[in-house]
């Protein structure tokens, strides 16, 4: 009896380990019944954030402004508090244009990383793709999975409000980037925390105005 209990614990433990974070999600049968709305909406709005970027112990702070120019075309500009422009990005459909960048920021790896973060947040790529929809066993809420090259983006929805409270960019079962979307007010999170798990990079966005 004692051995049986012990072995069932071991089996359970091993089973628990073998199932990765994302494999625990359960597929739903009717993914088309619920649409995933983009965070930044479709009203050509602009959003202003107080932004802090911490990369390998170095801090950058400033104001980040996003503006939808056309459907699927967003401009994202980062300036210092004193007004100096640091970078100017454009995301149009699936293409990216670097309009401007100060020399201090002009490091391909850093730019590419920040570009990816903003791209996931803008959700442009989700518009032309079909999602796999899952149920999160933790809270029985929806999770939307989109293919992103060889990686996946998971958008976790709150069960009651259906608002996105977390985004995870992952390779198989390894989280690469997590986005926590907090303090929703008027359909938009007033705080967004972006954390990279394989490099020392954190970005915090606090909404000032929309």
């Amino acid at each position: 009896m004692k051995n049986l209990l012990l072995s069932s614990f071991i089996v359970l433990f091993l089973y628990g380990c073998s199932l990765g974070h994302y494999e625990k999600l359960k597929s739903t049968l009717k993914p088309e019944s619920v649409a995933l709305h983009s965070l930044f909406g479709e009203n050509f709005n602009s959003f202003l954030f107080k932004t802090n970027i911490r990369v390998y112990g170095k801090d950058f702070s400033g104001l980040l402004v996003t503006k939808q120019m056309q459907p699927n075309d967003y401009r994202v500009i980062f300036t210092t508090e004193l007004g100096m422009k640091l970078f100017d990005f454009e995301f149009k459909d699936t293409s990216f244009t670097l309009h401007y960048c100060v020399p201090q920021f002009n490091r391909p790896a850093l730019l590419k990383t920040i570009q990816k973060d903003i791209e996931i947040l803008l959700m442009n790529e989700t518009k032309n793709k079909t999602a796999e929809v899952f149920i999160n066993p933790k809270d029985s809420a929806f999770v939307y999975k989109f293919k992103d090259s060889k990686l996946d983006n998971y958008y976790f929805l709150d069960k009651l409000s259906r608002q996105i409270y977390r985004i995870e960019h992952a390779k198989k079962n390894t989280k690469k980037i997590t986005f926590d979307l907090n303090n929703y007010s008027d359909q938009f999170p007033s705080n967004i925390m972006i954390k990279h798990h394989d490099i020392k990079l954190k970005i915090e966005l606090n909404l000032l105005k929309k």
Binding site: L48, D59, L63, V65, T79, L82, G83, K85, V102
Partner: protein
Amino acid sequence: MNKFLFVIIFFLLSISISAQVPAGYKPVKDTAAFKQQMQAQSKLVNTIESDFTQEKYLSVMSEKIITKGHFLFKKVNMLRWEYTDPLKYLIAINKDKMFIKDNGKVSKYDINSNKMFKSINEMMVNTVQGNLLNNKDYKAKYYENEKFYLLELSPLQKGAKDFLKVIQLYIDKKDYAVVKVKMIEPSDDYTMIDFSNRKTNQPIGDEKFIVK
């Protein structure tokens, strides 16, 4: 015919020349006298206290980014530049130290350790005092109308030229105070700072320039 062409060319040239003078302004004739006056007035000012409104214009955005705050200046080389709306952010310069308070966290820097901080410091302190006109890093042009002098400063150094096309300083003729600063980028996006409720030579304690 040639005469006609000459007139047209002359006309076009005079337009392009006059286009360089900002609308409503004319060049200052006696720049030496103006510089002398500016320096004399600046010597009389030991402290400045003022509110400011900063306007960031980005051509692609339909709205300007407006931020507001308060600033203090005390001779020599002490400056407190504080945003209060819609964000809280503070930069204080105390001789060779610079403090930044952001999200409740204070960072302290040695100005001489960082070239960028050094140039931020020089630019802010000199702008507030209107001292940029003697700076060899800028080429100055002087204009005036009834109420204001307008100083246009173009950076000469390559590094500064990358992000700054020209700084315009609007100086009140009655007290030689800098009332407005406009920093124009090569792309013609700009940052404009308007000063209001300016008070000079009121006592300001040194502790205002130390951030904890």
